[in-house]
Symmetry: C2
Subunit: 421 residues, 2 copies
């Protein structure tokens, strides 16, 4: 239901409509100095860069439909409300991890935030072969802090249940994840598309009954394992980077779900970047060292996630779960450590499964990755994608047995060398 | 927060306050014929039997505090709202399984329902050694129908998420379960009480670090695995029986949680009834055949749950999980059957764990069972309870390995024969 006074912004109407906001006068300058550019290249929303005498801002407005598809696929404006609520929680849980939020208008579905510059979308950097210091460390920290601090491990249970209820309203965006990620890749869904040459790999995936069972177990985990507030769409297109800054954006898919979901989706996008590199190199092997760096970042994300989760477990375990009353206070610190490692083991297994389905859906479903899409030579793209699909399958099947990141990276390296999958 | 116009009913004020309700005039008779008796023997609420010329009714009203403890332990009236909402869903999901609901007043926290007669509380029947035909079958069916039909296996996802959000408001009653069931038995909590003679068994339980880890994993499953609408307190005191009728009452603890929770708690109370029998027999062994019957009912609950869950899986799997699109429609019916058996396996393992903690808390926590409490000879009671505790521990530790109900019943029989635990 679209409120009757909702109006989509245009570059022409924006200064009139937002020119009275003190925060914009203070930080961007008087409205008569504003220059407005619409830059949204995502799938869902309007995004404007607003420049003025004093500075710049991003104005993001939800449209009442999926921008990529058009008015035939309506999508509620309320996603802006969920995005705003997720952003302020992420900022509280990991200060400095998201853009500064300056203004929110629920009726108009508008979020105004700082303009990050000279940041670019991480995915574009990875396609260009750029390195960023501290990347895996920062992303691992972000996952640990936002996921731990949004859960019953940390929050007061009444607050957690209130947030669970609030984000349970994000039905339509969850529905996108539920269908596009967990189901569509595993049958001949109408929205699927793929590079020619993948038919054999697709037949193997869609004919693999235990894989399709596992994918639905993972879907049930996504819909039912309400452990923490997820970002919900934590891929390398939702991260902005400069040489010395890393920010996470676009959490409109936020919902309560399994801790392993964000971690797995994030790792997945680095593994896809790794598999896509041969499509971006000018001479064979030119990106080999860069590929090593991508795998090292992948490993660091998990290592840092585990280290920071461990620190928080020891220092901030103030929720209703695994209380110190039962462990440390009884002289049973070891029990707390056993519980921690078992929880991390469960998160790890979940993450590997989600990692696998994310790879499958990015190659076979509706929403593809620029990592692969920008490979113009079709046979090369098909070869890279086939390897990625094989890795996805191996991670889903192997999720309960893989012993750690070295085993995963070894698998990725091994599959990357295969030409006959 | 207590609404300013909330007033607790008394037998004297009840006819004036409810005498204008058409449903009571029609079914109980004119208010000048009413006789009112307060019969609440539970821990939380006022319960009145209202008798008139034409029939009888039960009037249940929440108090703004825990009746058992007094005004020092406030408890929101809103639990009545959750009870009403759970009852109407259970009636829709398994018609005839709950009392007919005639009236609900949210402000006054009053639910009016049919008076079940000649029903008694099942637990009292089990203490007396009474048998009920069809008991395990009916309870297994109730669990399968209410739990399957309240989940993403069956519901539209928007409806499920709305119900998840609604019942997430039942914070204070969940808090009781979270503390009294999952934590208090495992340390020296102030509300704990126990029969003299259990000190050794308590030291073993509270000193068992892996047991305490498992109990908290189960607590996290309770708080996070939002699979379906649970009854939330499905013990033999929440079931009313006559020779030919079985009804489930008192779902004010309803919340979204793991499917295995209700099943495990229910089975647990039959296993405790089994362990308590030696305390109720007039001559040694007099209840041996009855004990066999209790174990047979326990087995039937699971067997029937599994059979009915399987029927619903095959005939009513209309939710977003394990869609036929992915399985049957692709000629992969076997995948659907593999998924079903794996889900049932997960429910089984969860149920055994919940079964174990329910035993521990009923013997060691605040809220004890009449099954044991009515054993007046302390050494006999302590012996029965010690065996029950040992079974609880074995089920929690063994939950991932026990192969089925025969293995569980064998364990129960074996432990029941031990005198030196």
């Amino acid at each position: 239901m679209i409120p009757s006074d909702y109006r989509a912004l245009t570059p022409e109407t924006l200064p009139t409509r937002l020119g009275g906001l003190d925060v914009l006068l203070d930080r961007v300058g008087p409205a008569d100095s504003w220059q407005v550019e619409e830059v949204g290249d995502g799938n869902l929303n309007l995004v404007f860069i607003l420049r003025g005498r004093l500075g710049a801002a991003i104005v993001k407005q939800a449209l009442p439909y999926v921008r990529l598809v058009g008015e035939s696929w309506p999508l509620p404006l309320k996603r802006s409300f969920f995005e705003y609520n997720a952003l302020i929680r992420q900022e509280a849980r990991d200060p400095g991890s998201v853009p500064e939020i300056w203004y929110f208008d629920e009726t108009q579905a508008i979020v105004v935030m700082e303009f990050l510059t000279p940041h670019i979308i991480l995915r574009h950097g990875l396609i260009q072969g750029k390195r960023y210091e501290n990347l895996g460390e920062r992303l691992g920290e972000f996952c640990a802090r936002t996921l731990f601090r949004g859960s019953d491990l940390s929050m007061k249970t009444a607050d957690k249940k209130a947030d669970l209820a609030l984000f349970a309203g994000n039905v339509e965006l969850c529905d996108i994840t539920e269908n596009l990620v967990f189901s569509d890749p595993y049958f001949n869904a109408s929205l699927n598309r793929h590079t020619p040459g993948l038919e054999g790999a697709i037949a193997r995936i869609q004919g693999d009954m235990t894989l399709k069972v596992a994918a639905q177990h993972l879907k049930m985990a996504f819909t039912s394992q309400a452990e923490t507030m997820l970002h919900g769409d934590l891929h390398t297109g939702s991260i902005m980077v400069s040489d010395d800054d890393i920010r996470v954006i676009d959490p409109e898919f936020a919902t309560y779900g399994p801790i392993g979901f964000d971690v797995g989706m994030l790792i997945s996008n680095f593994l896809m970047a790794f598999m896509a590199q041969p499509g971006h190199e000018t001479t064979p092997g030119a990106r080999a060292v860069y590929q090593d760096w991508l795998l090292a970042v992948t490993e660091t994300i998990w290592t840092m996630f585990e280290a920071e989760f461990t620190r928080l477990w020891r220092e901030e375990r103030s929720g209703i779960l695994y209380q110190a009353t039962l462990y440390e206070d009884q002289g049973h610190s070891l029990a707390s450590e056993i519980a921690r490692t078992e929880r991390l083991g469960a998160i790890w297994r979940d993450a590997l499964g989600f990692c696998g389905v994310e790879i499958h859906r990015r190659v076979l479903g509706l929403a593809h990755n620029a990592d692969f899409e920008r490979i113009s030579d079709e046979p090369t793209r098909a070869a890279c994608e086939t390897r990625a699909l094989a890795l996805g399958t191996a991670l889903i099947h192997g999720r309960n047995g893989l012993t750690g990141t070295p085993a995963v990276l070894d698998l990725a390296r091994r599959i990357a060398q295969e030409n006959h999958l």
